[in-house]
Symmetry: C2
Subunit: 243 residues, 2 copies
DNA sequence: ACGAGTATACTTGTATACAAGTAGTATTAT
DNA sequence: ATAATACTACTTGTATACAAGTATACTCGT
């Protein structure tokens, strides 16, 4: 593989990850960012050569990506499905679905502990903005929703989250990197919406929750545009690098 | 492994399955049926020896079961989580959640094709009852719901289904085997409920859909009892066989 | 008797080897 | 020229080998 190759996924998030997980994270980023185009056929041998590892971790990674609907494992090779606008809307469908469910469960119990945790994450996000750390911001953003979802200890809801989280994370990561330094309006809107989430859970107010969920949902279109632009730019950068 | 060992999962459903898938299906059945108790630690080497295969397909199977929340992959060994009453309720939560979502999507389009397919499956179920074929009945029952869910072509909803289906299938399979020849009342109730599903989709009537979903949900408690009894009986049979 | 350290028998993660099957191409026979 | 066949270069699935790390038990020193 080209020595000048850079990894898209933050290496510091992979401290205790196995080779298979690393490959999965990197491939995921490359697929979602568009560096690996939809329709491409990936072969285990080629990937193994490319990443200088054996087929074992590659196989593991492909299984993971297949579970996340990013590739289709076929008889000869793995076909990249990728993320179109449709898939992104669908993944947000699922998040809306499970977060609504979670909220209904959540308000039946004491929410003080969750609210405290969410507030902490909220403040972390503010720090990330202050230091213009897009990756950290994305991480905390995902963690925010994960905290809400895991708080009800529902094994199958958690399972759904575990399967959608990686795609979500990569998507948000790319989107944030793209516009973190430009769109301050976006950031303040995101922060306000997260505040709304906390309020909704704190006050157990269904109206506010629906409002914040929809707000989040409305943001998707913007994020899709971000992704598209991100894909364009990365492709260009890639082409230039190859020359 | 004991030569008298019998496989719980129908072999005819595994015609084109790889060794890994076979092992996954069999282990899943043994975990859900209670033959492998919760808390047990499974080792790749022992399983490989037990099933006379190498570690590769065993690893694959364990990854699958881990995704289904049936085991927890830890540093040393895979700890069996199993299916308690809580997990079963939770898996039905998810089915209720996604089938509700699917229904809302479904009624926006023409449902004639789906209704036709469902009617076919319904008639297959009747034949299965006629010939007292519990396994076939379970297969068609699962297929019924799969047909509904896949009909909207929503990749992430399909993903959720793919992750819950195997557990669902095993659970229903065991439940049906247990009581297929006794509880005709149950069967007719199940059939009536499936008829209700078809009606709801055909007439696009939300009221009926909610009714059938809840009916289905109310059945769960009975099924949990079935599972518990099934686990007891299988354990006893196993103990006797060992002597 | 009891605690520290070591030996051992396990565990997983990764690399490699082999077998079976498939697509596509080249070659050969008609 | 064309169709059929054989060959080549791939593919995945499974088995095996090796490395690194961990828990248990045992031995040795006090």
């Amino acid at each position: 593989m080209n020595d000048s190759m850079e990894f898209l996924y933050p290496e510091k998030w992979l401290s205790k990850a196995s080779t298979g997980e690393r490959v999965a994270c990197e491939l995921r980023m490359r697929i979602i960012s568009g560096l690996i185009e939809s329709g491409t056929t990936l072969s285990e041998n080629k990937l193994a050569a490319e990443y200088n590892v054996s087929r074992s971790p590659i196989r593991e990674a492909l299984k993971v990506l297949s579970n996340e609907n990013l590739i289709r494992l076929e008889r000869m090779g793995a076909v990249v499905v990728g993320l179109t606008e449709k898939e992104i809307e669908e993944i947000y469908d699922v998040r809306l679905l499970i977060e609504t469910f979670v909220f209904e469960r959540l308000v039946k119990n004491d929410t003080a502990h969750v609210v405290k945790e969410l507030t902490k994450i909220f403040e972390m996000m503010q720090i990330a903005i202050k230091y213009k750390d897009a990756d950290e911001f994305a991480l905390q953003d995902v963690l925010f929703h994960e905290t809400i979802i895991r708080s009800i200890n529902h094994s199958y809801i958690t399972m759904i989250w575990n399967n959608t989280k990686p795609v979500m994370e990569s998507f948000i990561l790319l989107s944030m990197r793209m516009h973190f330094n430009e769109k301050y309006d976006d950031l303040s809107r995101i922060m306000k919406n997260h505040e709304l989430y906390i309020d909704a859970i704190s006050s157990k107010n269904r109206e506010i929750m629906i409002q914040s969920l929809h707000q989040n949902f409305d943001d998707v279109q913007g994020k899709v545009d971000d992704l598209w632009m991100s894909q364009q730019m990365l492709s260009k950068a890639w082409e230039q690098e190859k020359e």
